[in-house]
Amino acid sequence: MECYSEQTCALLVDGELTVDEAQHLRDHLVTCQRCRELVDALRAENRVLSESLRELPEEAASPAAFSRLRWSWVWGDLAFVAAVLALGWIVSVWIDELKIPDALKWFNPFSLSGLTNLMFNLSYYLAQGGTAMLTEYAAVVGGFFLLLLLGGSALLLGRRGRLRQAGPRLLIVMLTLSLPSVAMERRHGEFVTVPASETVDDTLLATGNTVRVEGVVNGDLLVFGRTVEVRGTVKGDLVSFAKRTVVSGSVEGHIYNFSQSLDLDGQLGHSIYGWTQSLHVDNRGHVGDGIVVGAGDFILEGEVKRSVTIFTSNADVSGSIGRDLTMAGGSLTLTTTARLGGNLSARVRHLKDVHIADGATIEGKRDIQVRVRKSQFRRAGFYFRQAVWLASAMLVGWLSLVLFPGFVQASTQAVGSGWRSLGLGVGVLAGVPVAIVVAAITLVGIPLSFMLFAAYLAAIYLAKIWVGAFLGRILLRPTGATKHDWLLGLLLGLLILTIVGFIPYVGGLVRLGMVCLGLGAFAWQLYQASRPAITA
């Protein structure tokens, strides 16, 4: 008699055959050793399965430990957040200790200026070069997040079981990493003014159509308004979001400017960081440190003690700069009265865009580079960069998978929903910047918008990981869902995306599509993760 199939034997072992069928099979077993062995093996397998399932893969919870456990999570979260904060603080102190040269200070990711610089550079580049540049900046932020991930992973590895709801956790961490709240005085109205006789001892947050400071603000001044005028003194920093900002008094700290135009007629103790349509340092204006600005037009008639770094379409310098002038962009004019204590380095498109009057003084070297687009594929550095890019993306992918396995797998899967992800992604890509601006205008304010911005860039960076992993999975069709399969898929997917990304014209579209898809999947998964699992 012919032997039974393994599945039928399995049904017998599971007690799922009808009485008749079971009897037939048992009769067969008496004569057939092969089937008997198979049935025995299947029984043993069932036993192993039952026993393995009975033992919980991790330490089993007990009813008594249940409520205590929940509390211990809260404490655990607090401890974790405190640890990350401490780590960040130590690193930031350490970075401060290093005495970074001024020119590099903007790169310090732990300082406010680091963040603002990232923001204006991005916006400027966006206007100039479109989304291709965006990925470059996303890479910078990716590096930053990599640091954060690396720092946190040691703490997190032991706790991976409870980190499935990645979104909210990440938010907590970022919330605590955001700027510490300070004592703050708020003023709001059509016309907000600090009269000459008044001294504000706290940080002042002013919102209004016109904000005018004639007195003294001992803390920082944060303003949102149409016109902002500082005629008095601000002892701290000035952070301005306005159509027009005029400083004719003095600011002893830095100016972080996001106004459409900034005019400095007065004294500034430290540097200007910002991003503006036009920046004008009047001949009475004096900048104690340097300027790092992205501006449509840059006019310098006054004095800057240290270096100036500008990304601009049009720079006019007739004042003096204590050290170097570094510019990239459209045209540069140095008039006869211009004085430069250090080097001049300019990157322009055409040599004729640089006008240096004979009378202009340049103490250091002149380095004027004309950007000629050479094929990037001929340079070894290009391949090296791509390799580093790929490696870091793989590392980030791996870390995310180790830390948030469920979330990562689900995000990868969410890419597959196609139009939903794409549509959502387009919405998020366009909508979040608006939300950032809105958040920055309302009172809750700047920390939130910075956080949102950082999350936005991180999400853009992560987008390619979900899409890459998804693409890889489609192509490889792994049988299991192990980490190994996922990472292999990611590698393949990223390789393909990278190569396709360099095809002229189509490449840009592919990249944009990839960012949208990935963003959409990520947003969708965040939404899913943040929804309570049980709502009964």
Binding site: E45, V48, S50, L53, A60, F66, R164, G406
Partner: protein, 207 residues
């Protein structure tokens, strides 16, 4: 020394007696619980918490959701225990309730859609080819067991759920089919394929 330890591990007469007592008074505990006796409900919680949690942990993807689901099962038990009629053993009934709760959770995550949607009709008959790894042996080392647990956890839902319902909750194929909204044949095929998948994974790992 060893002999003493072994002796200490063996079943003590008192423990056996306790177990019998537990079996007998389970009925009365359930009866009292059906009459909304909170102490009795607490007793049931104490006795079956681990088993219910274990099921939820195997069925859901995270410890958090498993704990939430477990709490929910015992919370709803106050009302649902009235419907328990004693026709099947209580633990089995309770695990069925817990299984339903987990499936509800999964279904809600999918916005009300079926938990297992992939209906491949060809799947009803699965033949193991001779090249497939043989059934997992009864003698399985500790580290292999850990690997097996990991492999189960990594199984896709449509394999994992029927497998867990069968070998943890010990439900019949029909009951599993009812819970998951599947044909009996399909359940059989999924369980069989789940095992093949596990064998394949373990064979792959031990290489």
């Amino acid at each position: 020394m060893d002999a003493r330890r072994n002796k200490a591990k063996g079943p003590q007469p008192r423990e056996v007696k306790d177990k019998q007592m537990e079996g007998r008074d389970l009925e009365s505990v359930i009866e009292r619980a059906q009459g909304h006796d909170t102490q009795a409900l607490g007793e049931i919680h104490r006795r079956y918490f681990r088993r219910v949690f274990g099921l939820c942990r195997h069925m859901l993807d995270s410890r958090e959701s498993a704990e939430d689901a477990t709490s929910e099962v015992f919370l709803k038990l106050q009302r649902s225990i009235e419907s328990y009629d004693g026709s099947i053993p209580f633990p089995r009934w309770l695990l069925r309730v817990a299984g339903n709760q987990c499936i509800d959770v999964l279904r809600r995550r999918r916005r009300g859609r079926q938990v297992i949607v992939e209906v491949e009709y060809g799947a009803a008959v699965v033949e193991a080819t001779s090249s497939e790894p043989s059934p997992l042996g009864s003698v399985i080392r500790m580290e292999e067991r850990a690997q097996l647990q990991a492999a189960i956890a990594c199984l896709p839902e449509n394999f994992r759920l029927p497998l867990v319902l069968r070998y943890y909750s010990e439900l019949s194929y029909d009951e599993i089919g009812q819970q998951l909204g599947l044909e009996r044949n399909h359940v059989a095929a999924l369980i069989f394929r789940a095992k093949l998948e596990l064998r394949r994974k373990l064979a792959h790992r031990s290489k």
